[in-house]
């Protein structure tokens, strides 16, 4: 039946089962491939995945003492993604809130944002190279440019539609200035929606960043994924993909927690 609840034990069991199914499917594919050709490196066995992938990725380089994945992690997440998201979210917040508050700004910003949101930033890679080169600024621009049109619009909608006029009138009656109303009423009322909007943009931001690193980088996840898949080092590729997934999952979790912590009144 539609929406009929199931016991918690079932819920956990089914979740685990789907993961086991994934692992089983991989084992089968790998086994079949290796049966056909024992030297195949495209779907390595679990032991190869461990020795050629995990161990090599996490072991410090003999000469330099550097750990691949740590370097890539620093570059991709701690520097590029963080900076890009900060710029993107900052701009979206400012533009989105103001658009939700003032009609002239709404009329001015909405058409270009609606239009730009329809151009995939990945398709514009060449334009970014020309405009901002291919260094650190390029990654930040790429991410910011990719998420601002969507995020600013969702913040604008939240600010405009989710805050009842009565609340604003009440604030005015209590003597709030415009800035106070924006911060204490509109911003706080829409904060959970903003955090959710940001959470949903982490995925696209990673798409843009990996695409940019694929083309122009000498360190980072996109760079290593491209290099290793060209060298047919699929063990390393799979390990990188798993780490990417794990980091994305973690960011999602953190932002959900943040929302629950900052806006307990909003509910789940």
């Amino acid at each position: 039946m539609i929406r009929k609840p199931i016991p918690q034990s079932w819920r956990v069991g089914l979740g685990v089962a789907s993961f086991l199914l994934l692992i089983g499917a991989y084992s089968y594919l790998s086994h079949r491939q290796l049966e056909e050709n024992p030297d195949d490196r495209s779907i390595p066995s679990w032991s190869r995945l461990w020795s050629d992938g995990v161990v090599r990725v996490f072991t410090p380089n003999e000469h330099t003492g550097e750990v691949w994945i740590w370097q890539d992690f620093q570059a991709t997440f701690r520097e590029r993604l963080l900076a890009g998201m900060l710029v993107g979210v900052g701009v979206s917040l400012l533009v989105g809130l103001l658009m939700g508050c003032y009609d002239p700004l709404e009329a001015f910003f909405l058409p270009p944002l609606a239009f730009l949101a329809k151009i995939p930033p990945v398709a514009m890679l060449a334009v970014f190279f020309v405009l901002v080169g291919s260094g650190f600024e390029m990654y930040v621009t790429m991410i910011a440019f990719g998420i601002v049109p969507v995020l600013a619009q969702s913040i604008y909608h939240a600010a405009k539609d989710d805050v009842p006029d009565e609340l604003l009138h009440k604030a005015y009656t209590l003597g709030a200035s415009q800035m106070e109303s924006i911060y204490n009423v509109i911003y706080k009322q829409t904060l959970p929606r903003i955090i959710d909007g940001v959470r949903l943009q982490v995925g696209p931001a990673m798409v843009y960043l990996i695409a940019a690193e694929w083309i122009a980088a000498d360190v980072g996840f996109g760079y290593h994924l491209r290099l290793q898949s060209r060298l047919l080092d699929m063990s390393v590729v799979y390990v990188y993909l798993i780490v990417l997934g794990a980091v994305g999952f973690f960011l999602d979790f953190v932002l959900t927690r943040l929302r629950l912590w900052l806006c307990p009144w909003y509910g789940h």
């Binding site: 491209r226 290099l227 060209r230």
Partner: protein, 352 residues
């Protein structure tokens, strides 16, 4: 609603049936796939499809395919994707360089059946405002790392008596590197790229020049067609090898013929960065074709190839491009992970 679904299913079924009967009326030939990417001596196969020598779609035949009784399926992909596809056994043959062929050979026994061209200036280090190789030490050189570009760079440094550790080869997609130099962004002053980016950059930015290129190491970077040993052993596998070779030489004959040469050259250049006839003449100078069986046989049977492959192998192991060195063999009898075998070129030569 239900009736609609039934009707739809019936139509689909009828269509499928029609398709099947149409197929079985002709004798179904074994299908073999060749993955190729845009490069002068590999676009030959794309042009051969355009000129109706072969038909690149599975299930359709051109005259060359009918002659050898095999169905060639062409798959045009990005170069990197070709490598991954061949390595994961999703195609039978691939257009690849001798340097990049080592890695897939570790996992899939491979046979180089046809050298198509060699780089004689098609890979170049282009600089702006740098006079000599000593000055180059102070600049990052952008190019695709662990690739033909890096090989050519390192070999040239060796020839110039430079230490590799004094130079900074930095990874960047060749297209992006060329664009950065052309548009004067981010302080890119030296790049190591291949054609069409070499020609393009030299033309777009007048103050750039070639510091060194692959003309110092002719015959070392070999573009070729590699077929998996397993595919060759399948029924029709050898016919596939011969059909590929025959196609290549027939198109080369079109190129050499004064009546059709110009048009064929332009067709080759059409997808290769929209170069005209004049530019393409320069390109094929820098990417010297092994245009007939004799030139290919001279390479495959000569002693120079072994020395070259030893150089390549040393480079690839010392630069961690391959986790271990594949065994390399020469001639039809050799048992090796990567084998250079002139058997099918000879067969094609003797038959035509």
């Amino acid at each position: 609603m239900k009736l609609g679904i039934v009707k739809f299913a019936a139509c689909t079924f009828a269509l499928a049936l029609g398709g099947c009967t149409a197929d079985t009326s002709k004798e179904a030939l074994p299908v073999f796939s060749l993955a190729w990417s845009e490069y002068p001596s590999w676009s030959v196969f794309g042009v051969a499809h355009e000129k109706n020598l072969i038909d690149g779609a599975a299930g359709k035949l051109g005259p060359v395919e009918e002659k050898w009784g095999v169905d060639i399926e062409l798959k045009e992909l990005d170069y990197d994707t070709c490598l991954t596809m061949y390595g994961s056994s999703t195609c039978d043959a691939v257009c690849i360089t001798n340097i990049d062929a080592l890695n897939p050979a570790l996992g899939r026994k491979s046979v180089a059946i046809l050298p198509t061209s060699t780089s004689v200036g098609a890979d170049a280090c282009i600089v702006a405002g740098i006079e000599n190789v000593e000055q180059l030490r102070n600049h990052k050189v952008y190019g695709l790392s662990k690739s033909v570009s890096e090989y050519c760079f390192v070999r040239n440094l060796e020839k110039l008596g430079e230490k590799e550790s004094d130079h900074q080869f930095t990874n960047r997609d060749p297209g992006a590197a060329a664009q950065a130099l052309q548009t004067k962004t981010d302080d890119v002053q030296a790049i190591m790229v291949w054609n069409p980016f070499v020609l393009q950059t030299l033309r777009t930015r007048k103050d750039t020049k070639v510091l060194f290129d692959s003309s110092t190491i002719p015959g070392e970077i070999i573009d070729m067609v590699v077929v998996a040993q397993q595919s060759l052993e399948k029924p029709g596998g050898e016919a596939f090898a011969k059909a590929i070779i025959d196609t290549f030489y027939q198109l080369n004959a079109l190129l050499a013929d004064p009546a059709t040469g110009e048009a064929t050259l332009v067709a080759l250049g059409a997808k290769f960065s929209h170069l005209g006839a004049e530019d393409m003449r320069q390109v094929v100078q820098q990417t010297r074709f092994y245009k007939n069986p004799d030139e290919a046989l001279a390479l495959l049977k000569g002693t120079g190839l072994k020395q070259i492959m030893k150089l390549v192998l040393d480079f690839c192991t010392s630069h961690q491009i391959v986790p271990s060195a594949p065994t390399i063999g020469y001639g039809s009898g050799a048992d090796a992970q990567l084998r250079f075998d002139p058997t099918w070129i000879e067969a094609v030569k003797n038959k035509s």
